[in-house]
């Protein structure tokens, strides 16, 4: 007879699954944070989800605010791009064994939950971009 799974089994499985997902996410860091073909740097970004909204921030030093673009690529993926006010070569960053220069930021940010993009707001302060996307509302259930 098959044993019923205890709450501890379920929790352990959940934790294992979570750790696998975390490892997968971390493996993405094993790529360079720059792309010579597009002359772009991947900015540091962060996603946080509250009950009301998804908040995405990105650190964009040297970004020209007038060139900032936030576009949806897919329902659950947005793209952030910005041109830099300066062109930076590897040499400027103290790296003499690589060649190439960078003039923009580019990243694609996955949205963890559905959002209402029509009500999104963005601001740029202290070199940090902040995008606030209200979460999509579903139905309401009346409490009797």
């Amino acid at each position: 007879m098959r044993r019923r799974r205890s709450i501890f089994d379920i929790m352990r499985e959940y934790m294992e699954e979570f750790e696998r997902a975390a490892e997968e996410a971390l493996s993405a860091f094993e790529q360079p944070s720059w792309d010579l073909e597009t002359q772009s740097l991947q900015p540091l970004f962060n996603i946080s989800v509250t009950a009301e909204e998804v908040v995405i921030t990105a650190d964009l030093p040297y970004a020209d605010p007038k060139t900032l673009k936030i576009e949806s690529v897919d329902e659950d993926l947005i793209e952030i791009t910005a041109k830099m006010r300066v062109k930076l070569r590897f040499e400027d960053l103290g790296v003499s064994h690589r060649e190439g220069e960078f003039s923009s930021f580019h990243c694609r940010v996955p949205l963890p939950v559905p959002v209402d993009a029509s009500r999104a707001k963005a601001s740029f302060k202290r070199g940090i971009l902040e995008v606030r996307l209200p979460r999509r509302r579903g139905y309401k259930i009346k409490v009797e």
Partner: protein
């Protein structure tokens, strides 16, 4: 000293010195601040950390290999800095070995520079700096200098361990923690922490230079921040946001 961690001395190390620490943590505040201090005071390397617990990494400077965790000196000031994110699982033995070494060298006061993650950091013009101490004497120093003491809460990471191990050995240790971005390099917070450090130890360092080069610092620190971010998750850094449950003093 722990067998898995060796601190190798390359030059004579001053005794009874004050020692500052800049280890990767939120906003890389300590790393940015201590790096600025080492460079402006033209401090020289006196020792380095060698350990199988660290990833197989060397750092090249002027074509020569160096350990990523090194100790610099200038007169009576020592400065420890890490140029890589330290694996969360190695923090305990590494920090214990560093504190044991400080004890051997008779370090008079240890001051760790770091950040405290502040969710609305973008809206803060001048980051506030809080202090934590390892014993009554360090708390007295903080209060005399008018530095706000973090009375309750959780600390996670290298500073927490240094304080704990120093408390065990009754070494006077202080952590200065500036309000900072959690996962973005924060030169403004580093400047604030240097200003506060100056109230305890005089370090003739020009922070305006750090503020002017803020964007460059943020760009240079991007990769170490990215890797530190992963270690912050592993060490459960978010526990610092938790509200303490205890009532006992």
């Amino acid at each position: 000293m722990s067998e898995t961690v060796r601190i190798v001395e390359r030059r004579e190390v001053p005794t009874d010195a004050k020692m500052i620490h800049g280890l990767p943590d939120v906003g890389l505040v300590g790393v940015i601040a201590v790096s600025q201090i080492i460079s402006q005071l033209k401090m020289v390397e006196v020792a380095y950390v060698d350990s199988d617990l660290l990833p197989p990494v060397i750092v090249l400077h002027e074509g020569l290999p160096h350990s990523p965790i090194r100790i610099f000196s200038n007169d009576n000031l020592l400065a420890l800095i890490s140029e890589i994110a330290i694996p969360a699982g190695s923090l305990q033995p590494l920090m214990r070995a560093i504190v044991n070494w400080m004890d051997e060298k008779g370090v008079e006061t240890a001051i760790s520079l770091g950040g405290i993650a502040t969710p609305n950091r973008q809206n803060i013009e001048s980051p506030k700096v809080y202090g934590v101490g390892s014993n009554e004497f360090s708390l007295k120093i903080l209060r005399e200098k008018g530095i706000s003491v973090m009375e309750r809460g959780f600390l996670v990471g290298p500073q927490a361990l240094i304080l704990q191990y120093c408390a065990e050995k009754n070494i006077t240790a202080i952590s200065l923690l500036a309000q900072a971005f959690y996962n973005y390099p924060d030169p403004e917070a580093a400047a604030a922490v240097i200003d506060t450090l100056n109230q305890i130890v005089k370090v003739p360092v020009n922070v305006s230079d750090l503020l002017e080069k803020g964007e460059e610092v943020r760009l240079r620190m991007r990769d170490i921040m990215r890797r530190t971010q992963s270690e912050l998750v592993r060490m459960r850094k978010s526990q610092e946001y938790d509200i303490p449950h205890y009532y006992v003093a």
